[in-house]
Symmetry: D2
Subunit: 373 residues, 4 copies
């Protein structure tokens, strides 16, 4: 039995962790952490859990929790975990962090994009970026700290990773136009997220400044390196280690444009990715790169050329759908990826990481088909 | 291993059966029936099933299917099953019918409300009305034919059943104002169900003429009888047998007003039920009746007085939430019930019946928490 | 040129007033009041007004405003206007109040349902309840203070008024089940009104306790009186005066059940009204009552028997659609009414009152067809 | 009084024409054409028009109509107008075509992208592309045939026109990622447009193949030319004439990527446009280009740098909002434009053209503020 605690269990991602972990017989949630709802019944905060969760919300006490559990999920605002994490905690328990605190290897990059000081850079080197499909061989029972990827980043990186890794893309030409459901904005009571403000509208936000940008750039940069060095078999994590050893944490990230948009729906992210193909590559090469990289992946469903994903087909599941086409007129490849931002983009991916950390089947508890309609 | 076939697997309810049955290790779907999509890949019709279902749609051939499976689900238009069902089929396999063909014991009532001739009234007597919470003791491995209740009816009957059974309601005063998500309208390509026609609007329909009306009336009528006869412990099915023996199939249904409304959301039914309390009863009596009837029920979550259900809290699950209040000013009790129309109102309830038919735990495969948001 | 000021111009109803008044050549908005956004550009608060409104939000100063304008609209929280209104203000300008402060003639009823002390009951007698269709003959240039009806109340009263007035209904049997878009909840940043909380759900709220209940009861009560006294031609306002003179402000309201529900859409209210017909009345009588009362009304579109309104057909307009049927099985009439809650339920009705106060055509500036889809 | 007929008045764009024209005192709609609803009351097809339009739908008879009216709007499927248009018709009346039949000057391009034969290429030369902001000086009372621009094209062209015209963009780098509400898909009863299929999802479609692509390319191509020739003052129409005279109808269009997406909302189009800035240009130059081109435009609301449009702020209106930023990291400019696809993208633009054709104020009947929420 894996005992887990969830810090930030009353956010949308935290609640989704609860939904995914409750049915499991090998996992027990012993701590429903919530700074905002301490002392309240969890099922009063989330009515769907009525008669299912019989627990009260506890305060966010990482030290106390470390003594009680095998694993802590932190689904907390940026800066929280970095502010409280200690060696002692990590010596007692594992941590999967759904925030951005340990995703970027370069602390300056973090501070520049997040505008907050990083309080525990000493753990950056140890943290493994938990995108299982590219770092699986680095995620095992020896790992103490997982930086769970962001929702936009998961969609964006996995959409382009095979092509970058194979050197098929003009790296200066990458543009990612992403669209997200509103759960990505969190459960805070903010005017722009009111029903009447979001409904019947679409808007861009964080144009050129969204914080997921450097995360995408860093990870795609690692993929480039593995090709440059003729080491395509290396995981991104291995590459990041090399850079760290060379005193260049974060590597040489490539530079992209990333534009997120808010869509009037609850769940789902769609990333429409544009890039110029390097000379000589054609659609069949692109298809082959995807097949080679993803055919063995349980959660990635490559749909081939000319068939595109729609977020409705992945809702409630940990699947990612990918399709592409090549425009002969412009020489560009257009790859479209779709996930459920709350599952593969947050809680599902965290569970996927948990499974690897504890030596379980990677898809344990994550095989439910998407819910439609 | 229970082998099942689904006739009408490409409707919304049929697809939900697929979603619920696929993860089960004790059930195998061997026949994806679909009149409209014969020969097509099931996953081309429902993209969520890509890489999950590797099967083509087969024609609706009940006879062929009966030889192959232990159980047939018919998620078909009204009249289909009554038109093809035979003794031979029932001698080989069990059938759970999600249509209305065998829900009403009185064939005249069926023909009056559905405006179609009933082609096999000979099976009406045998069919068990599959509302497990009121007919559980009649649903077992000897039963060959289950009439799975309608979505509005499930919500309405379960909302009022304990109070009718205890004689607390003025039976002439019952009004049920119900609201449904649009999946209840089916997947047919009809103009009134287009996004732009449904979105940003609410409308009533079938006012005084909706076909679920007599089904609610018949079942509530049975509940009345059990009180009249001092036999509250009787299931509705037992009562229906008595009436059949007396040559009065359908019993003496009470008369209600039932008004459904279409709501711009995918899933969910909310029934707001009004009735005058009989003299002497008060809120605590109402609460007690609900507790007595439902505290032991896994799928019914009684929220007590002054706390009301919302459809978001049951989405994707087989739960039903119920709350009530008593208005001292008018002497009325207002009971509100909510379900996911596609699960507890259709496919989930069908699986619940399947579990009972095959001697399994009633909630097997149905314990997933609701999905939110 | 009518100079107007709007206190509370940054709420949804206030903004709708701006939308309706801006195109008019006979009206000038000189004061965009907003407690929350003082000093900000109005078009920064409402982006739709960019390049249309070139004004900053001013504080809520009723005294200063009274010197400048011919008419003040107060689209403010309950209690605001009652707390600041003075004889001096009313001696200088007219006020149309979109809050509930002067809708109920009986101050005790107000305090009981609104749980706040009424600070200026001395103006209750003078205030005219601005439901033009029933009080038109009392709304003219001599009136200083209009209590603009609530959104649910407008829909409910107008749906039943002709039948109550004609004595066709069993007054103890009235049940109004209403459904509203989310704009009715206002623009406050509250968790229950977030997109993800409202979307894909329907819920009841304020069951038996919603504040619009006594307003409906009082006005329908006046309609009863006019029949009792054989004075059907009397307006509700005239009846209310009689009661005041007799020391019984508010009259003898009838008692109803009123249940509002929140629907995932921006605009629109639908009221489904149930009542038992008095003996001898039939559908044709009901139709005749509606024709008699409403055929001359510009804003009320009576659709007849068996044809029901849908909120999409009135969106953005000041129209109210009404349909009905009689259920011979239960003896009840079911009347359904629909309006746009922000227009006919708030700002549009306020403009309708303004037109009458200033001797203009009642539909001036309100003839735009509904917007669809 | 301008007498107009509308062929295709029961589509969404046709109905919007009705909504916009009805309030006008200088226009009379004398023909509600509808192939599908001949003989039916227009208000039975569109309930919002109940008691407003008292007319029956007439057949699509262009010849008969030409005798009766001053202007015909054709809101019809591609190929219809080209199939029936004659010199005789144009000698009697003006035509504003909302279909694509006369938008592309090069008949081969039309036939390649639309996969239908063009039946009356002889009128291509005469037709004026009715994007008033770029062709205003060619739209006057001498014009007989207007090709009203598409919704995506209007948004895309106007977003980039000033920058292309000033030579600021690397023309090989243009990518337009567009998002549209569902009304753009029309009112046909098709499964993919059902509420449950569209709701809670976003999807790309027509990737690299959407028919609006060549229209955008052609018009942006004309803008390029005017710079090349040092004739920035030329309208696109003038440039197109030059090319026609040189035997190269359609000019030398540039090549872009255009990707439309379907969004779960009724109205609105947002175009996110990416392009590399030519060396030496910076954000202030971009801003100046927009100001120079659009400050005088009534319907274009340029929001400046770093402020982006949202479709909710233009709903129901003929306005277009534009914002931009320059990403110093990648050297790209990102321009975002938003319109209401049914108004500025169809019916509103058609009315704008009508106003110019008849010598009226260009914004006559189009000054209503956007409707929110």
């Amino acid at each position: 039995m894996i005992k887990v605690g969830i810090i930030g269990s009353t956010g949308y991602a935290g609640q989704e962790l609860v939904r995914l972990l409750l049915p499991r017989k090998d996992v027990e949630i012993v701590w429903y952490g919530s700074h905002s709802y301490v002392g309240q019944n969890y099922s009063d905060v989330y009515g769907n859990m009525f008669r299912i969760v019989d627990a009260k919300c506890l305060d966010d006490d990482l030290d106390a929790l470390a003594d009680e559990v095998d694993l802590i999920f932190t689904a907390t605002p940026q800066g929280y975990l970095a502010g409280v994490l200690t060696e002692e905690i990590l010596s007692k328990t594992k941590v999967i962090d759904l925030s951005a605190d340990f995703r970027l290897k370069n602390v300056e990059t973090y501070q520049e994009w997040y505008k907050i000081e990083h309080k525990s850079p000493q753990f950056l080197k140890e943290a493994v970026y938990g995108l299982c499909e590219v770092n699986r061989d680095s995620i095992n029972d020896k790992v103490r700290l997982i930086a769970n990827p962001g929702c936009y980043t998961t969609t964006s990186i996995l959409s382009l990773y095979p092509l970058v890794k194979q050197g098929m893309l003009d790296l200066s030409s990458i543009i990612i136009d992403a669209k997200s459901g509103t759960s990505g904005a969190g459960r805070g009571a903010k005017l722009p997220n009111l029903f009447c403000e979001v409904n019947e509208s679409i808007k861009p936000y964080g144009v050129t400044t969204h914080r997921h940008t450097p995360e995408i750039e860093e990870q795609l940069g690692y993929a480039v390196y593995s090709i440059v060095e003729g080491e395509a078999a290396y995981s991104n994590n291995s590459v990041s280690k090399k850079f760290e050893e060379e005193g260049q944490p974060g590597g040489y990230p490539i530079t992209i444009n990333f534009t997120p948009h808010l869509v009037p729906m609850n769940r789902g992210i769609l990333a429409t990715c544009y890039a110029s193909l390097m000379p000589g590559y054609k659609a069949s090469d692109v298809a082959e790169a995807f097949h080679m990289e993803y055919d063995k992946e349980y959660f990635i469903r490559f749909k081939g050329q000319g068939v595109f994903p729609e977020t409705r087909w992945v809702e409630g599941s940990n699947f990612m759908d990918i399709g592409f086409t090549v425009d002969e007129r412009t020489g560009r490849v257009i790859v479209v990826g779709a996930i459920d931002n709350v599952v593969k983009g947050a809680a599902g991916q965290a569970v996927q990481n948990m499974n690897l950390l504890f030596g379980l089947e990677e898809n344990e508890g994550l095989t439910m088909p998407p819910l439609f309609p």
